[in-house]
């Protein structure tokens, strides 16, 4: 099976004062479909730049990036936008929900840009919310939901276009430990169902739920290790029952 993510010499420089800062330098990497990868490192290590490049939100200074076999740098902007919408789901630390829209409308939003009819959007959004366990709260606005529930809405939104890759930026950063654990359990369940996950975190406990960890320092990847993940569901039962 071919790689989902494939980078060669992926490099991102930022101009800074007199010179340039190498936020990411010469990254060669392959991530297969269905992997659960954690990217770790202190702030400024390049892990966020890595995530932005993988998410097609940023363009590399040098090097190649293929997502599902497509060379992203060669694509026109509209095609990149479509790629973001259909191949990638984003989950943010601060959820980034539209405060005035209910859960259903928030989840529907990515489908607006694919021009899907309203009926199908509603249907799929409802299914995605069921999948993250919020079937009963579809018409709640974010302010009526807890942090964990809001993050579930955000995950439903990320999943709704059926992407092969979920990008999560400190997904548990704003949550208490139990809720964080629940979110990680959800990620593991989604991963078992075939969704590849790339999760940026500075928390080794979070990285332990992945099956592979990439460590970054000063713009370079210094470690790439594979291991048996901790079962979040089991830990949840053990800790809170």
């Amino acid at each position: 099976m071919s790689a989902l993510i494939e980078t060669q010499d992926l490099t991102r420089h930022y101009p800074s004062g007199e010179g340039v800062v190498a936020a990411l330098e010469g990254l060669d990497l392959e991530i297969g479909p269905g992997e659960f990868v954690a990217a770790m490192g202190p702030s400024g290590s390049g892990k966020s730049t890595f995530l932005n490049l993988i998410g097609c939100l940023d363009q590399p200074t040098r090097g190649r990036y293929r997502l599902a076999g497509e060379d992203v740098a060669a694509l026109p902007p509209d095609r990149v936008a479509a790629l973001r919408g259909e191949q990638i789901g984003f989950v943010f630390q601060s959820f980034n929900l539209l405060p005035r829209s209910d859960a259903l409308a928030n989840v529907e939003m990515p489908m607006l840009y694919r021009g899907l009819p309203r009926r199908i959007r509603r249907e799929r959004a409802a299914i995605a919310l069921e999948r993250v366990g919020l079937g009963q709260r579809m018409h709640h606005t974010p302010s009526q939901l807890s942090g964990g529930q809001q993050q579930r809405v955000a995950i439903a939104r990320a999943l709704v276009n059926g992407p092969g890759l979920l990008l999560a930026d400190e997904p548990t950063g704003a949550l208490d430990s139990r809720t964080g654990l629940e979110i990680m359990a959800l990620f593991q369940a989604l991963n078992r169902a075939g969704v590849a996950i790339l999760c940026v975190t500075h928390d080794a406990d979070v990285a332990a739920f992945a099956s592979r960890t990439l460590r970054f320092r000063d713009g370079k990847m210094i470690e790439d290790s594979r291991y048996q993940p901790v079962d979040a569901e089991a830990m949840l039962r053990q800790k809170f029952q």
Binding site: R84, L98, Y113
Partner: protein, 408 residues
């Protein structure tokens, strides 16, 4: 598209007061445009109606020194226009359709036990043509009847109301200076002239009849008339005919080259047109105010859209991250700006029309709602939104998704 509209409406509804205040500028502009144009058009229509009532293509010749509003001729003032001049003018000047010599006098008119003081106009049948008179009942008198001195009169609508009330006066008799006259017709209503005089307060009779029975004059002045009404053929130059008339009277009165004219010639429609021009100037001024208001309103829209873009930076970042193209973002904000401006425009239309009707009712101004101006005002308000919304929308569409997502 319908959903994008709903989304834009929702975004505006989230800040109702702000949206309302922003739309206010556009609203004032549009309302001002509509009221201005309505008042302007109303005034013009009134003036046109007055010009029509005076008689189109009409020149009136007065004896010199006799002022427009003055009725009496001063002592020793020799009347210098004659009935024969009026007969001669169309023969000498080809562009003239008809010319009618006219004498006017204030007289007491009696019918049964009613009496009324009114202006008696003694003239030719040509007078009806020159002043575009119509009859609402009966008929005009003919040339033969006029020349043979038959005692026939036509009454203006005001005279009929005062002497006969609702009764039909045709065939009845009135008396002036104890002479009986047969009423053969009622003149069509004309209303006020631009000087505010009631044009329907009039009795018209044949000139020679008046000379014999009502307006006695010394033998020397038997053929004298006060004014001559000259109607110019359609399409001929009024000013050319005015000059020809001037020359006609200079010759006829044997005026030396260095002497002043013995007659004065007035173009009544020109007097009315002057009023039209001043109404137009006022309209132009108000239109300028409206344009400035629309400009200020547009800047308000731009300002609030810039604020909105800043406030919703994270939302824009999010939308870009989930697959929105830059033109989707551009369209979203542009639509909001246009909708905001249109909202102001729509309220402006309603209030503008209401205000115009209020002015018509309360101040008694003649107003005429111009629907093409309403359509124009709405279009302009939409264009204002489009123009002033473009810069903020472009700014939103060009945001860098990474910085937008991190925006606090």
């Amino acid at each position: 598209m319908a959903e994008a509209l709903l989304a834009a409406l929702g975004a505006l509804a989230a800040n109702k007061l702000r949206a309302a205040l922003t739309a206010l500028g556009i609203f004032i502009g549009v309302a001002a445009v509509i009221v201005t144009v309505a008042v302007g058009a109303g005034a013009r229509q009134q003036v046109l109606a007055q010009i029509q009532s005076l008689g189109a293509n009409l020149l009136v010749v007065w004896g010199a020194n006799v002022r427009l509003g003055g009725v009496s001729m001063g002592a020793g003032q020799r009347p210098n226009l004659s009935w024969d001049d009026a007969q001669e003018i169309p023969r000498q000047i080809a562009a003239v359709q008809v010319a009618a010599g006219t004498s006017r006098q204030q007289q007491q008119v009696v019918a049964g036990n009613q009496n009324w003081s009114t202006t008696v106009v003694a003239t030719d049948p040509d007078y009806f043509v020159a002043h575009d008179w119509t009859t609402q009942e009966g008929r005009f008198f003919t040339n033969e009847e006029a020349m043979s001195g038959r005692k026939l009169v036509l009454l203006g609508a005001t005279v009929v109301e005062n002497l006969f009330g609702d009764e039909d006066p045709v065939g009845r008799e009135i008396r002036i200076r104890s002479t009986p006259f047969e009423v053969i017709g009622v003149l069509g209503r004309k209303g006020q002239n631009p000087m505010g005089q009631d044009q329907d307060d009039v009795v018209i009779m044949p000139f020679w009849t008046a000379r014999r029975s009502v307006m006695g004059a010394p033998r020397a002045f038997a053929r004298a008339v006060g004014t001559i009404s000259v109607k110019v053929h359609e399409g001929e130059s009024m000013s050319d005919v005015e000059e020809e008339l001037r020359q006609f009277f200079r010759q006829r009165h044997r005026v030396a080259a260095n002497e002043p004219d013995t007659v004065s010639i007035r173009n009544l429609s020109e007097i009315a047109a002057t009023r039209d021009a001043s109404a137009r100037t006022l309209s132009l001024l108000l239109a300028a105010v409206a344009a400035v208001s629309l400009l200020v309103g547009g800047i308000g829209v731009m300002n609030i859209m810039l604020v909105s873009v800043t406030e919703r930076t994270r939302e824009i970042g999010l939308r870009l991250a989930v697959g929105a193209r830059r033109r989707d973002i551009l369209r979203q904000f542009l639509l909001e700006a246009v909708l905001l401006a249109l909202l102001g425009g729509a309220v402006g239309v309603i209030v503008g029309i209401g205000l115009a009707h209020t002015l018509a009712g309360v101040a008694g101004w003649p107003v005429l709602i111009q629907w093409d101006a309403v359509a124009l005002a709405v279009t302009v308000s939409a264009l204002t939104g489009l123009f002033f919304g473009y810069y903020p929308a472009r700014r939103a569409a060009r945001l860098d998704p990474i910085t937008a997502l991190r925006h606090e």
